[in-house]
C-alpha cells in the first residue's frame, strides 16, 4: 500500500522533473540553435572562474542558459502594475503551467517495468480515457494566459490575452479532431494501449507506427500543437512587433520565467503527444517484451529491465527529436498575420480534420479494424 503510493509519487516527480529539465535544456537548444541558423555564435560568455576555458573546452553557453538566465530571472523584482488584479496576476502563470504539467501524468513513458514480482506501469496515472483527459487539460490551459492578460490592467496585455484565448480554443478544436481520428483508428482512448497497438511490424519489417495510418492527423496535431504553444509562426499573442510582449507584457522575474517555462513545457507536451500517438511512444522497432526480432529473423533476447529502459530511452529520444523539429520551424518560418492564423485554423485545419475523421471512420467501419 504505502510502497504503491511511494512508487506513484516517484513516477509523478520523475516525469515532472524530466519535463522541466527538458524545457530548461530546450532554452539552450533554442539559443544555440537560433544562433546556428542565423550564423551567430550565440551564448558563449558565462563561465565559472573560466574553468572551461582553462581546460580548453569550447564554451557552448550551457552556463548562460542553465544557470545565469534562471538566476537572473528569479532574482529580478517581481513587479505588479498599479490597478492590476493582484491575486489573479500572481495566479495566472501557475494557472498556465499547471495544466501542461498534469497532462504528462497520463503519458506512458515506457512499458511495464518488472522489479522482482512487482509490475510497475510506467505512467503516473492511467485513466481508461486518458486521451479525453489530455483534451481536458489542454482546454483548461487557456485560462492562465487569458487571465494573465486580463489581470495586468494593460491594454496590450489584454489584447494579447484575447488573441491567445481565441487562438488556443480555435486550435484545440483541431487537436481534438486529430486525436479523435487517431482514437477511432486505434479503437481505444487509452494512450498506453495505443502504444501497445503500435508494436509489431507490417510485412515483417515495417514498424506499425501511427504515422502510417494517420498521417493527416499527425500533421494536424503538430501544426495545431505548435499553435497551442504560441510560438513563431503562431506567436501573435506575444507579437513583439505590435503588442510589446502580449499577455506577459506586465510580467517580470519569476512569473515571466514560469510563463516561458510553460511555453517550453508545451513544446515538450506536443512532442510527447506526437510521439505517443504517431511514433509508437516507447516502442523500439523490432523490440518485443522478450528482446529484438530483426526482420531477417535474427533474434536477440533481452531481460525485461533492459527492454523497459530501452523503451524509456527511445521515448525521450523521439520526444527530443520533435522538440528540435519545432525549434527549427520556429526559427525558420515567418509569422502569420492574425486573420491568416484564423483562416488557417478554421478554414484549413478544421475542415481537413473533419474530412480526415470521416474518412477514417469509413475505413474503420469498412475494414472492421480494431
Amino acid at each position: 500500500m504505502a510502497i504503491d503510493l511511494l512508487i506513484s509519487a516517484i513516477k509523478a516527480i520523475v516525469v515532472v522533473l524530466m519535463v522541466l529539465n527538458l524545457s530548461g535544456l530546450l532554452l539552450w537548444f533554442e539559443r544555440k540553435g537560433s544562433a546556428l541558423i542565423q550564423d551567430r555564435i550565440g551564448a558563449n560568455r558565462a563561465a565559472i572562474f573560466g574553468v572551461g576555458r582553462r581546460l580548453g573546452l569550447p564554451n557552448v553557453g550551457l552556463m548562460n542558459t542553465l544557470l545565469a538566465d534562471p538566476i537572473k530571472l528569479f532574482t529580478k523584482e517581481d513587479f505588479v502594475p498599479n490597478g492590476a488584479d493582484r491575486f489573479l496576476h500572481s495566479l495566472a502563470p501557475f494557472l498556465a503551467l499547471f495544466p501542461v504539467l498534469i497532462t504528462f501524468a497520463v503519458v506512458p513513458i515506457g512499458d511495464v517495468l518488472e522489479i522482482g514480482t512487482r509490475r510497475i506501469n510506467l505512467e503516473a496515472a492511467n485513466p481508461g480515457v486518458s486521451a479525453l483527459y489530455v483534451m481536458a487539460t489542454l482546454g483548461i490551459g487557456v485560462y492562465g494566459v487569458a487571465l494573465g492578460g486580463w489581470a495586468s490592467n494593460n491594454r496590450w496585455a489584454l489584447l494579447g490575452g484575447i488573441r491567445a484565448t481565441a487562438q488556443m480554443i480555435s486550435y484545440e478544436l483541431t487537436i481534438g479532431l486529430a486525436i479523435i481520428a487517431t482514437v477511432v483508428a486505434y479503437g481505444t482512448l487509452n494512450l498506453q494501449q495505443m502504444c501497445h497497438l503500435q508494436g509489431g511490424v507490417w510485412f515483417g519489417w515495417l514498424p506499425r507506427w501511427g504515422i502510417l495510418i494517420q498521417p493527416v492527423s499527425f500533421i494536424l496535431l503538430l501544426t495545431a500543437g505548435m499553435a497551442e504553444s504560441k510560438r513563431v509562426p503562431f506567436d501573435l499573442p506575444e507579437g513583439e512587433s505590435e503588442l510589446i510582449a502580449g499577455y506577459f507584457t506586465e510580467y517580470s522575474g519569476g512569473k515571466q520565467a514560469v510563463f516561458m517555462m510553460t511555453d517550453f513545457a508545451e513544446i515538450v507536451l506536443v512532442s510527447v503527444l506526437v510521439t505517443t500517438f504517431f511514433f509508437g511512444g516507447w516502442q523500439v522497432p523490432w523490440l518485443y517484451p522478450n528482446g529484438f526480432h530483426f526482420p531477417g529473423g535474427a533474434h536477440l533476447g533481452l531481460p525485461n529491465i533492459v527492454v523497459a529502459i530501452l523503451g524509456i530511452i527511445a521515448f525521450w529520444l523521439k520526444t527530443v527529436f520533435f522538440c528540435w523539429i519545432q525549434i527549427l520551424i520556429r526559427w525558420t518560418l515567418p509569422r502569420f498575420r492574425y486573420d491568416q492564423l484564423m483562416r488557417l485554423g478554421w478554414k484549413g485545419l478544421v475542415p481537413l480534420g473533419l474530412a480526415n475523421l470521416v474518412v477514417t471512420a469509413f475505413v474503420v467501419v469498412a475494414v472492421g479494424a480494431k
Binding site: 489573479l88 479525453l132 481536458a136 489542454l138 487571465l147 486580463w150 489584454l158 481565441a166 480554443i169
Partner: protein, 186 residues
C-alpha cells in the same frame, strides 16, 4: 469514492458556488464557476462516469466558460457598484433558496432504497456503453441535438452580428435595445 475525498471536493464545490454568487467582479465569479465545474467533473469521475467527467471539463470549462469570458471582456464589465436596496428581494431570495435546499435534501434522503445493491457493470461509464446507448435508444434525441446546436449557432450569429453604423451612433433610449436586437437578428 472515499468519504474524505468526497468531503474535500464537496467543500471546494460549495465554496466555488458561493464564490459565483458573492464575488463582485464578474471575472472572479467566472473563475469560481469554472472551479465548481471542474470539481463536479471530478465528482462524476468519482461516480464512475469517467467519460462524462472529462467531457464536462472539456465542454463546460474548455468552451462555455471561455465564451463567457469573451463576453465579459467584450462588454468590458467592471466591478459592479455596491448592490443598492432590493434587500427584500435578497432576503426572500435567500430564505427561499435555503428552503429549497432543505426540501430537496428531504427528498433525496427519503428516496426509496433501491431493491438490493445496484449491480454496476464493468463497462459502466465507459465510452463504449455511453456510445451504445446514445446511438441506440437515444439516437433520435442525439440527432435532434445536433440540429439544435446548428440552430443555436445560426441564432447566436444572427443576434450578435454588428449592426449598421447608424444604429450604433444613435444614443440608446428606452426600448431600443430590444428593437435593435431584433433588427440585427433580421
Amino acid at each position: 469514492m472515499p468519504l474524505w475525498l468526497f468531503i474535500f471536493l464537496a467543500v471546494i464545490a460549495i465554496c466555488g458556488a458561493f464564490g459565483v454568487i458573492l464575488q463582485r467582479n464578474p471575472v472572479h465569479c467566472l473563475l469560481a464557476l469554472a472551479l465548481t465545474l471542474i470539481d463536479v467533473g471530478v465528482l462524476f469521475v468519482g461516480l464512475g462516469a469517467e467519460t462524462l467527467g472529462f467531457l464536462q471539463i472539456i465542454i463546460y470549462v474548455g468552451a462555455i466558460m471561455v465564451l463567457f469570458l469573451f463576453v465579459i471582456w467584450l462588454l468590458n464589465l467592471q466591478i459592479e457598484p455596491a448592490p443598492n436596496a432590493h434587500l427584500a428581494l435578497k432576503f426572500f431570495g435567500s430564505i427561499g433558496a435555503a428552503a429549497l435546499a432543505a426540501e430537496l435534501s428531504v427528498f433525496f434522503f427519503n428516496a426509496q432504497p433501491v431493491s438490493g445493491v445496484a449491480t454496476i457493470p464493468g463497462t459502466y461509464g465507459s465510452v463504449e456503453s455511453l456510445a451504445r446507448m446514445l446511438f441506440s435508444d437515444y439516437l433520435v434525441a442525439f440527432e435532434v441535438t445536433s440540429i439544435l446546436l446548428l440552430a443555436a449557432v445560426a441564432g447566436a450569429i444572427a443576434l450578435a452580428r454588428r449592426m449598421t453604423g447608424a444604429a450604433l451612433t444613435r444614443t440608446p433610449v428606452e426600448g431600443e435595445g430590444v428593437v435593435r436586437a431584433r433588427e440585427s437578428g433580421s
